[in-house]
Symmetry: D2
Subunit: 128 residues, 4 copies
C-alpha cells in the first residue's frame, strides 16, 4: 500500500474538481438506495435503521454529512397481525440528504420520492 | 385484509411445526446475509450497524432474538488514508445468532465463517 | 481445507434431515428476496434478470431447481419518459419456486405476494 | 403524471450539464456495486449474472452502455465440495465500465479493484 492512498486514487480521474464532487455524491446516493432497499421496517426499528444508514454513508469517502428519513408507509393495516407487522423498505419510503466535500467543493444531493414521476429521484441540489 | 393474517399465512404451509420453525429460521439468516453484505464498515460505525441488523431481524415473523457480531477484518492498513478508511461488509466479518419460535418450537441458528470451509456457514444449532 | 467439506459442514447441525432440508430451503428464499429487491427492472431486461436469479439460486448448496417469475407491475405509465421507463424490483413483483434436496428429502418452497396479507409470503409447499 | 417526466426531473437540479453527467454516472456505479455484491457466483453462472448486471444498468436513466466483468477469484479450492462450490460476489471480483450521456455530454466511469489501495475504486475516466 502506498504512503498516500488519496493521491493514488486521484490519479485515476480525468475531470475537474467540481465534476469529481458531483460524481462522488452520485455514488453515495446510488449506494444508499441499493444497499438498504428491502430491509425489514417496522415502527420499532425505523430510528435505528435510519441512524445506521446515516453512519454507514458518513464513513464513505468525502462525505461530510448524511441525513436519512424513513416514512412509515404501509404499516397501518399490519397491526392486526402478531407476526407480519412490518414491511420492507421501498423507494417511496426513503428520503436522504448527503453532502460531500472534495478539495473545498461542496456538493449536496437528495434522494426523494417524487409523486408526479412515481420515482425516487436522486438530484444534485447544490454545488459550490 | 382478513381479521387473522397469521392463520391465513399458516394455511399455505404443508409441513410439521418443527419443519416450519426450521424454515423460518433459514429465511432470517439468508435475509440477514444478503441484505447487509456490501455495507460500508469502519470502526466508527460497527456498533450502530450491528444493532440495526439485530433490530431489523428481530422485527421479522417469529423471531425472538437476534445477536450480530461484526469482526473488523481488513481495517488496519486503511488508517493511512483520510478518505478510504473503511471496507465493505463481507461474509468472513459477520457472525449472527438468531432464535425463532413457532407454536412453542424454538429453533436457534447461526451464521459463522468457518475457516476450514472458507465459507460463511448458516447452521441449525438447536431445535426443541 | 478438509477433504470433505460437506461432512465438515454437516457436523455443525443438530436436527433431523427433514428439518435440515426445510432450513436450507428457507435460506435460499430469504437470500433471493433480499439480494435482488431494488434491482432496476424494465420490460427489456426482465427475462435476463429472471434467468440470472434462477441460475444464482441454483448454484447454492442443495438446490435442485429454481424458477423465478417477475410480474411487470407499475411499468405502464412510464412509457412517457425516455429516461425513467423502468422501476425497481419490489416484493409484489416477484414469484419464485425453489426445490432443495438433502439426503433424499425434497422440500419445495415458494415466494408469492399474497394480496390478502399485502405480504410477499415465503412458504414450504411440500416436503417428502 | 406530467406529459414530460424528463423536464420535470431536470427541474430539481442546480448544476451544469457536465456536473449532471458526472453525478448520474456516480449513481449507476454505486448502484451496481451495492445491488449485486453478495450474489452467489460459480463458474457456471458467471456469464448470465454478468449479462444481467449489464442489462439492468443499461435500463437506468441516461446510460448508453454498461460492460461488466466478473473475475472468478476464490473458486479454485471449492471443487472438492459437491455443495459449496461457489462463493459470493465481492468487490475484488468485480469490474465494470459504464457510459452515460446527458444532453450530449458523455461521461465514462469505471469500477475496478486497485491492489495498491485494496479498494474497489469507482472513477470518472473520461468526460466530454
Amino acid at each position: 500500500m502506498t504512503e498516500n492512498m488519496d493521491e493514488e486514487a486521484d490519479s485515476y480521474f480525468n475531470c475537474t474538481e467540481r465534476e469529481r464532487a458531483a460524481f462522488e455524491l452520485g455514488i453515495k446516493l446510488g449506494a444508499l438506495f441499493h444497499q438498504f432497499i428491502g430491509t425489514p421496517v417496522s415502527e420499532k426499528n425505523i430510528d435505528i435503521l435510519r441512524k445506521a444508514m446515516e453512519k454507514t454513508t458518513e464513513r464513505q469517502a468525502f462525505v461530510k454529512k448524511a441525513r436519512v428519513n424513513i416514512i412509515p408507509r404501509g404499516l397501518e393495516g399490519r397491526k392486526k397481525s402478531a407476526f407480519f407487522d412490518y414491511t420492507t423498505l421501498s423507494g417511496d419510503m426513503l428520503e436522504a440528504t448527503v453532502e460531500v466535500e472534495y478539495k473545498g467543493i461542496r456538493a449536496t444531493g437528495r434522494l426523494k420520492y417524487i409523486q408526479e414521476l412515481d420515482y425516487p429521484l436522486m438530484y444534485l441540489e447544490n454545488i459550490r
